[in-house]
């Protein structure tokens, strides 16, 4: 493969916006969610694991919620079934919040970027 000569002459990137402050604020949020390298000490490893597990559960919980709503709208559930389903999901949400608090994790900590699917939360 041969390349004919080119002269790139690229300039230093310019950044243009009329809303510097806003973008700084938003981009800072993104930078703040950069994954930290978890150190070997036992405390952090446990938290890292908790974060992973809770993220997975949270992901599934949201899918469950969506599916429940879909079925509710579909009209093939009895009022009692809807009520039971709702109560169960409500308790699941509460329990998960409890666990988050227990491990000192905020919503943002579980807010992993799922690429094309977007962010979890």
């Amino acid at each position: 493969m041969t390349f004919s000569p080119e002269t790139p002459q690229s300039a230093e990137p310019a950044i243009e916006t009329s809303h510097t402050e806003e973008f700084v604020e938003q981009l800072r949020c993104v930078a703040d969610t950069l994954p930290s390298r978890i150190n070997v000490d036992p405390q952090s490893v446990e938290q890292g694991l908790a974060k992973l597990v809770l993220t997975l559960i949270e992901f599934i919980r949201r899918l469950l919620e969506k599916q429940a709503i879909r079925r509710m709208e579909g009209g093939d559930l009895s009022p009692q079934q809807i009520e039971d389903l709702g109560l169960a999901l409500m308790k699941l949400e509460a329990k998960l919040n409890e666990l988050k608090t227990q491990f000192g994790l905020e919503d943002e900590d579980l807010n992993i970027d799922l690429g094309p699917v977007g962010r979890l939360i």
């Binding site: 390349f3 690229s10 310019a14 950044i15 809303h19 973008f23 930290s36 709208e73 709702g86």
Partner: protein, 243 residues
């Protein structure tokens, strides 16, 4: 074992006029392997700290190379052993040359959009059931349903934004990559691979689009070396961290 810190790949020797200093104050070297040239520097340690200095240094070296020739940039934090690099270059030689041809004569331009998204808590106009009569569980599901409808709408609006931007710029750029995050204020982040010859067209079209939607806040930046369109470091674990 001493690692090499990688900056970028090129198809010809960049022939730096001056000695460049890389991360950790190590000298920047150009390694040659068949038709490929890799800009790298020696690095002590297993992890590259994400600091202002390191980030800017990485960008500066990639950009300096980019001013002399076509490059495929590595993302920040690529560490590799000499043998690892050699194997990689051997296996991937053709793919890398193809990619270099793909980004030839091009720069990366970025657009980010912030919106004032107020539709989340609006009355969606749907029939809200009488929550007093429903049990707690049913009420819970009803509220979640409202939320879901709201977020569906927001997602639709975000996709519409993506389509609108694409419609304007697609014919001008060689490649695009757009990410949308409907729930965030920074709703859209786009990167475009633009031929240098078409930069004027690109800027004019972008200006036109911005004027069309004054309720949106835009940030445009560039030209950048084609970080987004290189994707050459998927095989390397990147070793950066913030502790």
């Amino acid at each position: 074992m001493l690692n090499s810190y990688l900056y970028c790949v090129a198809h010809e020797d960049p022939n730096f006029k001056d000695e460049l200093s890389g991360l950790d104050g190590r000298g920047v070297e150009v390694l040659n392997h068949d038709a490929l040239f890799v800009v790298a520097s020696k690095f002590d340690g297993e992890m590259v700290p994400v600091t202002r200095e390191n980030v800017l240094q990485h960008e500066a070296i990639v950009r300096t190379t980019f001013s002399t020739t076509t490059v495929l940039p590595f993302r920040f934090g690529c560490l590799v052993t000499t043998s690892g690099l050699r194997s990689y270059l051997t296996i991937r030689e053709r793919a890398l040359l193809e990619r270099l041809a793909h980004v030839r004569d091009c720069v990366e331009m970025s657009v980010k959009i912030i919106w004032q998204n107020s539709s989340e808590n609006e009355d969606s106009g749907c029939v809200v059931p009488n929550l007093d009569e429903a049990g707690a569980g049913t009420a819970f599901l009803m509220l979640k349903r409202q939320e879901l409808l709201g977020s569906d709408r927001v997602e639709q609006e975000a996709r519409e934004l993506e389509a609108w931007l694409g419609a304007g710029l697609r014919d001008i750029v060689r490649q695009e990559q757009i990410t949308i995050e409907p729930k965030q204020r920074l709703v859209l982040s786009a990167s475009y691979l633009v031929e240098r010859a078409r930069l004027t067209d690109y800027r004019r079209e972008l200006g036109r689009l911005q004027a069309e939607r004054t309720n949106l806040h835009f940030l445009s930046s560039g030209p950048w070396p084609p970080y987004t369109f290189a994707n050459i470091d998927l095989e390397f674990g990147t070793h950066f961290g913030v502790s």
